[in-house]
C-alpha cells in the first residue's frame, strides 16, 4: 500500500481518537458510579462508601484531565485533515459538536469544582446533585458524539445543496433509530469499563490482603453491576447488528466474512479471510446460524461481499477480527461477572484466588471491546466517511502533503505517549497508595474547572502513606 496523505490522515485520526476514547469511556461510567456511591453513603450513612467515593474521585480527576487534553485535538482535526468533509457536512456535524462542547462544558465546569472542592461548603443534597450533574455532563457529551457518528453511519434528515449537506429535519437526526441503539451500546460499554476497573481494584487489594472493607465494596458492586450490564450489553449489541444488517449490508458481510450470497446462510466462527481470492481459509462455520443471526429466520438469503463492486467494499480483515475480539471480550466478561458474583454471594470468592486474579487481570477487557467495537464500526463503514454519500478519499484535505501528514502523525504519537506514560504512572501510584481510610481535608477555596489539580493537592497526604 502506498503511503499517501489519505492513509496517514486515517492512521492519525484512528490513533488520536482511540487514545481519546480510553479516558471518556472510563469517566462516563465512573461519574455515574460515583453518583450511586454518594447516594448510598447519604442514605445508609456507612463511612466506607465515603472513603471509596473520595478515593475514586481522585482517579476520576486524572482520567478526566487526560480526556480533556486529548479532546482538544479532536475539535481541530476535522478541519485540518478532513477539510472537505467539514466543509460539506459542517451544517450538520458542526452544530451537533457545538452542542457537545456547550452542554458538556457548561455542566462539567459548573459542577466539577463543587465535586472536587465543595464538600464542606454545600449541603449534602447539593453535593449529590453536583455529582449527578457531572455524570449528566459526561453522558450528554457521549450522546452528541453518538448522534454525530450515527449520522455519518446512516445519514438522515438532509438534502444536498451545492455539495453541502443542508439539514432539513433535526428531529430525524436526533431521534434516528440508529442513535437510540448505538448510544445505549456506548453508554453500557462505559458503565462496564467503570465497573470492571472498580472490581479489578477490589480484587487486587484482596489479593494483597489490604483495605478489606473498601475492597469488598468495590469488588461486589463492580461484579454485581457487571452481572446485570453484560447481558443488557449483549442485547444492545445484537440490536446494533440489526441496524448494520439493514442499513450497511457490505459492512455486515465483511463482519461475517461472507463472500457470496447464501440461502440459508452459515455463520463463520473463525477463518482467515482472503480479499485476493474472495474466500475464507480454514473456515469453521455452522450451517443456518448465519440466517438466524442476520434475519431471525432459518431460510433467509444473506448477501455476500461480491454483490458489491470492489471499490464499494470495506477492508475485510479488520472488521472481521475486531468484531470477534469484541464478542470474545464480552463472553469473558460475562463469565467473570456471573461466576464472580455467584462466588461473592456465597462468600467464597476469597478462597478462589485464581478468580480474583482473573478479575484483576480482566480490567482491560472493556477497553479492548470498546476499541475493537469502534474499529468494526469505523473501518466497516469504509470506503465511505458519510455512508453511501461521501467517500473517505473525497473527504480528506485535497492539498495535504505526505510530509505534513507524516510530521503530524509522528508529533501526536510522541506527545501522547509522553503524557500517557506520566498519566498512567500517576493513576497507578494512586491505586497503589489505596484508599487512605481517612477523609481528606478539603483545601481552601473552591477551584472549579481544574480536573487534575485535586490530585497533586492531596498527593502529599496519600501517596507517602502507601509507600
Amino acid at each position: 500500500m502506498d503511503i499517501t496523505a489519505l492513509l496517514l490522515s486515517r492512521l492519525q485520526f484512528a490513533f488520536t481518537i482511540s487514545f481519546h476514547i480510553i479516558f471518556p469511556s472510563f469517566t462516563i461510567g465512573l461519574a455515574a458510579w460515583l453518583t450511586v456511591l454518594e447516594a448510598l453513603g447519604l442514605t445508609t450513612g456507612r463511612p466506607a462508601y465515603r472513603v471509596v467515593f473520595e478515593f475514586w474521585l481522585k482517579i476520576f480527576g486524572v482520567a478526566f484531565g487526560l480526556g480533556v487534553v486529548s479532546g482538544v485535538v479532536m475539535a481541530f482535526e476535522f478541519g485540518t485533515n478532513w477539510s472537505e468533509l467539514s466543509r460539506m457536512s459542517g451544517p450538520i456535524q458542526g452544530p451537533l459538536l457545538s452542542y457537545e462542547t456547550f452542554t458538556a462544558f457548561f455542566l462539567e465546569a459548573s459542577f466539577f469544582g463543587i465535586l472536587l472542592f465543595g464538600r464542606s461548603r454545600v449541603p449534602p443534597w447539593l453535593y449529590l446533585f453536583s455529582t449527578a450533574m457531572v455524570a449528566l455532563g459526561t453522558t450528554l457529551s457521549a450522546f452528541w458524539i453518538m448522534v454525530n457518528n450515527s449520522w455519518m453511519q446512516v445519514p438522515v434528515g438532509y438534502t444536498m445543496v451545492n455539495r453541502q449537506f443542508v439539514p432539513t429535519d433535526w428531529l430525524a437526526i436526533l431521534f434516528s433509530p440508529v442513535v437510540w441503539v448505538r448510544f445505549p451500546h456506548m453508554l453500557l460499554a462505559s458503565y462496564l469499563t467503570g465497573a470492571s476497573c472498580v472490581a479489578a481494584t477490589g480484587a487486587w487489594y484482596l489479593l494483597r490482603g489490604e483495605y478489606h472493607a473498601e475492597a469488598r465494596i468495590m469488588l461486589r458492586m463492580g461484579l454485581f453491576l457487571a452481572a446485570v450490564l453484560v447481558p443488557a450489553q449483549l442485547f444492545f449489541g445484537h440490536l446494533v447488528g440489526d441496524y448494520v444488517h439493514d442499513k450497511q449490508p457490505a459492512k455486515f458481510a465483511a463482519i461475517e466474512g461472507r463472500w457470496h450470497d447464501e440461502q440459508p446462510a452459515s455463520e463463520v466462527l473463525f477463518a482467515l479471510p482472503d480479499e485476493a481470492t474472495e474466500t475464507d481459509h480454514y473456515a469453521i462455520s455452522i450451517p443456518v446460524l448465519g440466517s438466524l443471526i442476520g434475519s431471525m429466520s432459518f431460510t433467509s438469503k444473506e448477501v455476500g461481499l461480491t454483490d458489491f463492486p470492489p471499490q464499494d467494499r470495506p477492508p475485510v480483515a479488520i472488521p472481521f477480527f475486531a468484531f470477534r475480539i469484541m464478542v470474545g471480550c464480552g463472553m469473558l466478561m460475562l463469565f467473570l461477572a456471573w461466576y464472580g458474583s455467584y462466588l461473592s454471594l456465597k462468600e467464597r470468592i476469597l478462597e478462589k484466588r485464581w478468580m480474583l486474579w482473573g478479575i484483576f487481570l480482566g480490567f482491560p477487557l472493556p477497553w479492548i471491546a470498546i476499541l475493537t467495537g469502534w474499529f468494526t464500526a469505523e473501518v466497516g463503514r469504509q470506503p465511505w466517511t458519510v455512508y453511501g454519500v461521501l467517500r473517505t478519499a473525497d473527504a480528506v484535505t485535497p492539498f495535504l502533503t505526505v510530509r505534513e501528514a507524516a510530521i503530524s502523525l509522528l508529533v501526536f504519537c510522541a506527545v501522547y505517549s509522553f503524557i500517557f506514560a506520566f498519566g498512567t504512572f500517576y493513576i497507578y501510584r494512586l491505586l497503589r497508595a489505596g484508599p487512605a481510610g481517612r477523609l481528606i481535608d478539603p483545601p481552601v477555596g473552591a477551584i472549579p474547572n481544574r480536573p487534575m489539580s485535586v490530585v497533586h493537592h492531596h498527593a502529599g497526604s496519600t501517596v507517602p502513606a502507601g509507600e
Partner: protein, 328 residues
C-alpha cells in the same frame, strides 16, 4: 441569525485572546524568572483559571464549524503545521501545570514544557493572524499555498508581536494578582514590553503601507475606524499613568482595553470578509436551519450561562494570591 453568530464568535475570540492571553503571557514570564519561589507564585496566579480560559478556543472552533463551515475548513487546513505546533504546545503546557508540582528530579522537564509550550502557542497564534492580514493564497474557496504558504516575514513579525503583547498582558496580570517581588519584577518589565509593542505596531504599519496591503485601503476608506486606535492610545496613556502611580488593578484593564481596540480594528477592517479578502460572512454562513438549531438551544440559553459562570469563577478568585500558598 447570521449576525447573532458573528457576535457570539467575536465575543468568544475576544475572550480567548484576553483570558488565555494573560495566562500564556505568564507562561512566557515564568521561563524568564529564575528563582523558584517567584515561579511558584506566578503559577498560582493562573492555575485556578487557565483551563477555563482555554475552553474559549474550543468554543471558537466549534462555532466556526457549525455556523461558518467554509471558514473552519479553509483556515484549519491552510494552517496545518502551525496548528499542529500550537496544539502540541497547549497540551504540553497544560499537563505541565499538573505534573510539575509532583515531579522531583524531573521538574526541569515541566518547566521547559510550560515555558516552551506557552511561547510556541503564542507565537503561532500571532503568526496566523499576520498571515490572515496579509492574505492567504486562496482560489475557488480552497487554500492553494502549499505546506508553507502562510510563512512570510510579516507573519513571523506578527508572531513576535503577539509574544510581546501576551507577555505584557501577563505582566499586568501578575501586578494585579501578586505582591512583593513578583509584582515589582512585573512592574519593571511593563515599560520595556510596552515600548517593544509600540515599536512593533509602528513597524507593522510601515510594512503595511510599503507593501500596499489591502487592509490599509479599508482604513483610508473608513476614517471612523480611527476610533479604535484612539481608544488604544488612550488606554496606553492610562497604562503609563497607573504604572507610575503603582495602581495594581489598573494596568491589566488598560492593556485589555488596548487588545480589545486592536481586535476591533482588525475585525472591522476585515468586514464583511471573514477570511480577507476571499470569503465573506454571507458566503461562509451555514444554512438557516443549522444556525436556528444552534440558536434556540446553545445560543439563547447555554451561552449566557457560560458567560455568567466565567464571571462567577473570576469573582471567586478575585484578590491577590497569597505567596505562602505553595501551589495556588
Amino acid at each position: 441569525m447570521i449576525m447573532f453568530w458573528v457576535a457570539v464568535l467575536a465575543i468568544s475570540v475576544l475572550l480567548y485572546v484576553l483570558l488565555d492571553g494573560f495566562d500564556l503571557g505568564v507562561g512566557i514570564l515564568f521561563g524568564l524568572a529564575r528563582d523558584e519561589q517567584r515561579r511558584d507564585t506566578m503559577l498560582s496566579a493562573v492555575s485556578p483559571v487557565w483551563d477555563g480560559n482555554e475552553t474559549w478556543l474550543i468554543v471558537t472552533g466549534v462555532i466556526l464549524w457549525g455556523a461558518f463551515p467554509p471558514v473552519y475548513a479553509t483556515l484549519l487546513s491552510a494552517f496545518y503545521l502551525p496548528l499542529l505546533l500550537m496544539l502540541a504546545g497547549l497540551i504540553l503546557r497544560g499537563v505541565a501545570f499538573e505534573f510539575r508540582a509532583r515531579a522531583e528530579s524531573s521538574r526541569w522537564v515541566w518547566d521547559i514544557a510550560f515555558f516552551g509550550g506557552s511561547l510556541v502557542a503564542t507565537f503561532v497564534q500571532g503568526m496566523t493572524v499576520g498571515a490572515l492580514v496579509q492574505g492567504l493564497p486562496i482560489a475557488n474557496g480552497r487554500y492553494t499555498g502549499g505546506d508553507f504558504g502562510w510563512l512570510s516575514p510579516f507573519a513571523l513579525l506578527c508572531g513576535v508581536g503577539l509574544c510581546l503583547g501576551y507577555t505584557l498582558l501577563g505582566a499586568c496580570w501578575l501586578v494585579k494578582k501578586c505582591e512583593d517581588k513578583t509584582r515589582d519584577g512585573a512592574y519593571r518589565l511593563i515599560p520595556g514590553l510596552t515600548i517593544g509593542l509600540l515599536v512593533f505596531l509602528l513597524v507593522v504599519f510601515v510594512y503595511a503601507l510599503a507593501d500596499h496591503l489591502q487592509v490599509i485601503d479599508r482604513w483610508l476608506q473608513r476614517p471612523y475606524l480611527l476610533i479604535f486606535p484612539v481608544v488604544g492610545v488612550a488606554a496606553m496613556a492610562g497604562l503609563a499613568h497607573s504604572v507610575v502611580r503603582r495602581r495594581d488593578g489598573m494596568p491589566f484593564s488598560m492593556v485589555a482595553l488596548t487588545f480589545a481596540a486592536a481586535f476591533g480594528t482588525l475585525a472591522i477592517s476585515f468586514w464583511p470578509y471573514m477570511i480577507p479578502f476571499s470569503i465573506t460572512i454571507q458566503a461562509a454562513a451555514a444554512p438557516h436551519s443549522s444556525l436556528a438549531f444552534m440558536f434556540w438551544g446553545e445560543g439563547l440559553f447555554v451561552f449566557p450561562l457560560m458567560l455568567i459562570y466565567a464571571a462567577v469563577n473570576y469573582s471567586v478568585f478575585r484578590g491577590k494570591v497569597s505567596p505562602a500558598a505553595e501551589h495556588y
